[in-house]
């Protein structure tokens, strides 16, 4: 392995340059990653508070403290901010930026200046989306379905332009990562020796590059529809509104895989490092990431089974949607198999990985109800769908993201967090999450429709349980924030390799020096060859 002698002499990337300007015009992928992290966590809190507002309003069937219009605006902004400003950029841009070059043994991403440009494009998009609050807000739902979105009076154009620009930031990040993975790998880092986190981020970057342009054109057509009105989405002018749903979901279903694939990458890292075991079925997991990326482009019609799409198309989409379930099942089963014969250390990241396995499996299995044609007719646009995608998004990506945050916190800041507080936060998040969204499965199968401001009193009992659960979840998430902030301030200095990881990012200083490695490392072994594994026992 590369020698570590004079790593400690050079200052870490955090202190190498001083002053706010050194952060704002940095081209160092680690600093850009941190700036993304701060921005996305901020928007996660904003949209999270909107979610608490929603849940508290739904505590009783009638009107509690906001009018129908305000409620519609709050759930739209909760959806739009969470999707476009938090969950898509969070893992790829925040953690991906920080880890990709380190794990590949490169000094930086392929196009550092483009990396900074995509951060500022993200900031412009964020400002525009938040500005819609002032300009009459947005009440079309994050899906912008026409003809409602092309006729409503709210600030749809400002919001769609904001999302249009956020799409560019996503394309440029994806493009940067694909080129980095292809061209910047250190000597010895072959495709089969890359950590699975890189495979997941590579598959995500491919989807970002190939799917987001369709979102750009869809939103541009919507803006033109409102200003000049071509009419292809407006029935009165000779068009058909179902076409907008085709255009929109052709991007948005691959987008949900942009959201969840990086979470898979993190979990592969967490489980292997903390159970000191080689990953089970490396090739299967790596290829299933790419398989999911490919199939994700073929299944968008399962959002439209009851939307007036032809039945034949529904059958084709339902069949291909079942095909996505297989690689996902392979991943989950391989992770559980990795635990076999391990020496599991229950640190906070490992706790998050363990509750990920529960929440994501529930999310995945409930997907079966929605991809089967006849049950989807009953469950479409009810709280069952709300529960399903929260189990996959919050239960999948966000819990993996929190686990990853705790796992690489020492590497990012050089400090350790309080282990006990981390474990308690994991427990709170687990209980709060399951109470909030577990009850919503039953609400959905009872027929409670989505995006309802006032509901029939039969649903009140379940809604109240769900609202209480959301408060517990909020408490858990705030505890995570305080634990990390406290760790930043009072945490003791982290050792160079607190978890004993063997992938490249653990071979350089903690926190890493400005250009990552003194000498480009030469890699001879895979990312999961831990010292504890006794290879000779496999001989006899």
């Amino acid at each position: 392995m590369s020698n570590q002698t004079h790593d400690s002499v050079e200052p870490s990337y955090l202190v190498a340059k001083k002053g706010l300007l050194s952060w704002l015009i940095t081209v160092d992928h680690k600093r850009i990653g941190l700036m993304y992290l701060v921005a996305t966590l901020f928007f996660f809190m904003v949209a999270g508070l909107l979610a608490i507002l929603l849940r508290t309003e739904l505590f009783t069937p009638g009107q509690d403290f906001m009018s129908a219009q305000t409620y519609n605006q709050v759930f739209t902004l909760h959806g739009a901010i969470m999707v476009f400003l938090f969950i898509i950029p969070s893992v790829p841009a925040a953690m991906g930026n920080f880890l990709l070059p380190l794990m590949l043994g490169a000094r930086d991403v392929a196009f550092p200046k483009l990396n900074l440009l995509s951060f500022y494009i993200y900031c412009i998009a964020a400002v525009m989306l938040v500005l819609t609050l002032v300009m009459g807000s947005l009440d079309t739902g994050w899906t912008f379905y026409t003809p409602y979105s092309s006729t409503t009076g709210t600030a749809v154009i400002m919001a769609t332009l904001g999302v249009f620009i956020a799409g560019f930031s996503s394309i440029l990040t994806g493009l940067n990562f694909v080129v980095t993975v292809h061209k910047m790998r250190a000597p010895g880092v072959t495709w089969n020796r890359m950590p699975l986190m890189i495979w997941a981020i590579y598959a995500t970057a491919l989807i970002q590059v190939l799917a987001t342009p369709i979102l750009a054109i869809t939103l541009m057509l919507l803006c033109i529809e409102r200003v000049l009105s071509i009419g292809i989405f407006d029935p009165a002018l000779g068009g058909d509104p179902v076409l907008f749903q085709h255009f929109f979901w052709f991007y948005s279903h691959p987008a949900v895989y942009i959201m969840v694939l990086p979470g898979f990458g993190i979990v592969s890292e967490l489980i292997t490092v903390h159970s000191r075991k080689h990953i089970f079925g490396y090739r299967a997991i790596a290829l299933s990431s790419v398989a999911i990326a490919v199939i994700s482009f073929l299944v968008w019609g399962h959002h439209m089974f009851v939307s007036g799409q032809s039945e034949l198309a529904g059958v084709v989409f339902s069949f291909i949607t079942f095909a996505v379930a297989v690689p996902t099942a392979i991943k989950v089963l391989s992770w559980v198999a990795t635990l076999y014969g391990g020496s599991i250390r229950y640190t906070t990241p490992m706790w998050y990985a363990m509750i990920f396995l529960w929440t994501f499996t529930v999310g995945g299995l409930t997907g079966l109800y929605l991809s089967t044609l006849s049950t989807d007719v009953h469950l479409h646009d009810t709280y069952f769908v709300v529960a399903h995608f929260h189990y996959v998004m919050v239960g999948g990506t966000v819990i993996a993201f929190l686990g990853g945050l705790f796992h690489w916190f020492p590497k990012m800041f050089g400090r350790m967090y309080n282990e006990r507080a981390g474990a308690i936060s994991a427990l709170l998040v687990f209980i709060g999450f399951n109470v909030t969204f577990g009850t919503q499965f039953f609400l959905g199968h009872q027929g409670m429709p989505r995006r309802y401001y006032a509901y029939l009193p039969e649903y009140e009992y379940l809604h109240q349980i769900s609202t209480v659960g959301s408060w517990v979840l909020a408490a858990g998430l705030f505890l995570v924030l305080f634990t990390l902030l406290a760790g930043l301030k009072f945490g003791k200095h982290a050792p160079a390799n607190p978890w004993g990881g063997v992938s490249l990012e653990w071979h350089t200083a903690t926190p890493p020096i400005e250009h990552n490695f003194h000498h480009i490392p030469h890699v001879e072994s895979g990312p999961y060859d831990f010292p504890e594994i006794d290879w000779d026992s496999a001989k006899h």
């Binding site: 000597p187 482009f297 032809s310």
Partner: protein, 147 residues
Amino acid sequence: MSEYVFLNGKRVENPHESHHHISPVIVYVAVFAALLVLTGLTYAVSFANLGPGSLPVAMLVATMKASLVVAFFMHLAYEDRFYLFMFLTSLVLIALFFGFVLFDVNAAGALNDEQAVGVPRLEEGLKASETAPVAGEVEAPAPDAGH
């Protein structure tokens, strides 16, 4: 620093020497001439009123022109195979997107007729003058004679 430079595990002899493909001028002139001829062909196709067949043929000619430009003007023929792979993947995605959406628009009206539901097709829609079949006296929504 004269230390040897490695790239993806293989030692690189002279790392900063780069080899490019430079095609002779005649290739460009030939491709340019071919493009002009094909543009003329596009004109011919449109005036030869082949009826329904004119769109596929026009698309074929345009694809030939496009592949000429991509292969020779953009040097894709001499480049690393991965660029070609990326470009073809995006074309496959486009074809998929078109295929499913046009199939669905086509099938939407057909299924209604097939079940003899007697539901007016998409074109008539509601904007046309036929009486909305809600409260007033009902007669099958006659195809309006306006068109």
